[in-house]
Symmetry: C2
Subunit: 442 residues, 2 copies
């Protein structure tokens, strides 16, 4: 949608809201639909090609309004997570469908998804261990539980363990910053020998520092054998898996118990929208179900209704699936794939520029839209370069540390980015580099 | 703002967004402001009377844009929570000001605020107890910690304890459904005698079932003496405390460590916006601080900057304080107070209608906008009445259980509600009651 159409459609939307509020008393206060009403009103998959805005907005009255905020909000979310799951070619067991045991939910952030998976895993582990060790108290079990994640994992993973009150150990990564089976298995065996109870592994596909990918295809079977919950955090990289050529990066998800990525990061959905799927929804729900009378409703026990309040920390929920519905239809799968591919091409373009300049080095494989690079030389030199870049306020780079080295990260993420922006950014960086290296102390 | 002005302003806003996006490359990618820049650009308190929309929208360019998303998003939030805290006449120690140790934060829901307070209390208790009992392990302490809340408290409080992995006990309430000191003290003494470690009490001001108020003025000093964290959950009722005549209901907050209410419930701010204050921000931050390199920034250690990511579960944040800024200025304190008072008057009007009908009884004190009532007679009779009301879809009531009795709840909460809506609702209820009582089985 270009700016001109945005102005027109935005103004129509303002009128739609005003009309709605002016005539709200003509609408019933309570919807008159049966559980599951929505699924049959819309297609089972996202469109391949962009749809017309007129058609989309008309569907708001046809599909959403009869179900009002509830159950439309819940039902659209379940179907949208199925749409998105199909785009990613997630195994069938992660989809809700009409009779599935799995399904998806929108969390606010990947931090919340990680926390929910860890808490569900904790609860499941305590129950399983107590079933065969009735003499062990819950606290005794908790004190022996141990979770694992990559030494490259996001800080929110460690924080989830802190909140959940369980130990978490960091698995050292290989030269590509990925967790491999051998090292992980060694840790698990040692911990078991020490009387600990391994119960959870958070794998990362696309780490924050360098966009590295843990070897989930070899780690998954190990987790399954050891009765450990495997959660996959693909917060950034997940969006790319809608492209067949990047889908192999997700291989191994079939061994996972839960999977999460953030469409708000790279799939054109406004913040916040973090998509999470579980294989067995009962695992999540079982951990936190509370049913006071003021939250009871008629269809609660029918099995037809999803109560997302059991799937997350907050009780109240926003209608975030509307954003997904609009974006998926406005772009179509082809449009979304084109968007991802363009960003990856631009990252490769930047990588080539860096590689062509002998003063610089590339510090990690460039797989998607992130380029980790640095000036050959000291950390201090690179810190000085970043300081200059930040002071100029022309581009914005966030650093990381890789194998003890201070590294700059060039991330392609703006919606309207083009090749000339990348070229201009590189010119800017090299100009500042030139100035920096002129100075007597270098 | 009436519908006509909404249409005009909404369309101006669409143009503003389109203009912004069309000219985004002219703006610096990084703000050029000093920490704390925003506070001096706006008043220290919310306006008493409504301001002009033109003036408010002009301030977006003047106040927000120079600070871009960051730090403007954070700084406006801190100042808005100060504005709101002053409206509530919160003790000074809860305000951030320029040098305060306390301050406010926007959480998504009261559930999250309760969880954060419980986790902070847990961490503080473990550290305090370990300091004097170095032989006790963290797990041993955790296994002995005990939290308390009212038997009328919201289910999310119990859920917070489940997530935090600590015991929670429900304190029985008096005939007004309030927790009193005597009963609470007895439980605490007994638990201490049993070797448990009381560490947290979640008081409720305005319970979900009946809008009852725990006696925080007598409970607070007890919590302080016993080194127990007192959190006050006033999710619904909190908005009313901006009126001097309802402010006494908040007395005792001076003993609390944290306080929370939901402006999205009754203060005209769209969902979600749950306001939480703490007396000592270090208590919250200390529990979960993680500082990886990719989240470091220059002003981190200066003490001038608030990093809200340490105050909550999610890492990412939305710019929710903008909603508060606009609403506070569009209504002014007088306008907001008038809104609350009107709802309370309408609740009293409904109460009078119920009291005048001898078939009905009022089941709890009507203090704010909630009226708990029922037909004199069996629970089944009242369940049948509610079923009819729900089937008609003219009004929507949510029930509760009070002292084993099934009770209907009439809540005044629609933005445009008038006396004639209340009258019409009561006519509807009495008509359905008449039909119900005609039936042979009654």
């Amino acid at each position: 949608m270009d700016a001109e159409e945005f102005r027109r459609r935005g103004k129509e939307m303002v009128d739609l809201v005003a009309d709605y509020l002016e005539n709200i008393e003509d609408r019933p206060v309570y919807p008159d639909v049966e559980p599951g009403y929505l699924r049959s009103l819309i297609p089972t998959e996202a469109p391949q090609d962009p749809e017309n805005y007129e058609d989309i907005i008309k569907d708001v009255e046809r599909v959403i309004m009869p179900g009002a905020a509830s159950p439309a909000c819940t039902e659209l979310e379940t179907v949208m997570l199925d749409w998105l799951g199909k785009m990613l070619q997630l195994p069938e067991c992660f989809l809700a469908g009409t009779h599935g045991q799995g399904g998806g939910v929108i969390q606010g952030t990947a931090s919340e998804a990680t926390l929910m998976s860890l808490l569900a895993a904790r609860c499941k582990a305590v129950r399983r261990i107590q079933a065969t060790n009735s003499d062990m108290s819950e606290m005794e079990i908790l004190s022996k539980l141990v979770a694992y994640t990559s030494d490259q994992a996001h800080s929110s993973v460690e924080r989830a363990a802190l909140i959940g009150g369980v130990k978490m150990k960091k698995v050292p990564t290989d030269e590509h910053y990925a967790v491999r089976k051998d090292m992980f298995m060694k840790m698990v065996e040692e911990d078991k020998a020490d009387g600990l109870l391994p119960f959870y592994f958070c794998a990362t596909l696309g780490t924050t520092p360098s966009c590295a990918f843990d070897k989930t295809e070899e780690l998954g079977p190990l987790c399954n054998e050891e009765n450990m919950w495997m959660h996959i955090d693909a917060a950034y990289a997940g969006s790319a898996f809608i492209c067949p050529e990047f889908r192999p990066l997700l291989n191994g998800v079939e061994f996972a118990d839960s999977f999460n990525f953030n469409p708000h990061k790279w799939l054109l959905i406004n913040f916040d929208c973090s998509a999470m799927w579980v294989k067995k929804r009962a695992d999540l729900i079982g951990a936190f179900k509370m049913d006071p009378l003021y939250l009871k409703h008629e269809n609660q026990e029918s099995g037809l209704v999803t109560d997302y309040r059991h799937w997350q920390i907050p009780l109240g929920r926003r209608f975030r699936s509307l954003k997904m519905w609009f974006v998926f239809r406005m772009y179509g799968l082809n449009g979304l794939q084109a968007y991802i591919r363009k960003h990856v091409v631009l990252a490769k373009e930047f990588e080539s520029l860096v590689r062509a300049d002998k003063r610089f080095e590339i510090c990690a494989d460039v797989v998607l839209g992130l380029v980790c690079f640095r000036l050959k030389g000291s950390n201090e030199l690179n810190q000085n370069l970043l300081k200059r870049i930040t002071q100029c306020r022309e581009i914005h780079l966030v650093p990381c540390q890789l194998s003890g080295r201070f590294v700059l990260r060039f991330a392609i993420c703006a919606r309207k980015i083009e090749s000339h922006h990348v070229q201009k950014a590189w010119q800017h960086i090299t100009q500042l580099t030139f100035e920096l290296l002129q100075e007597p102390e270098h």
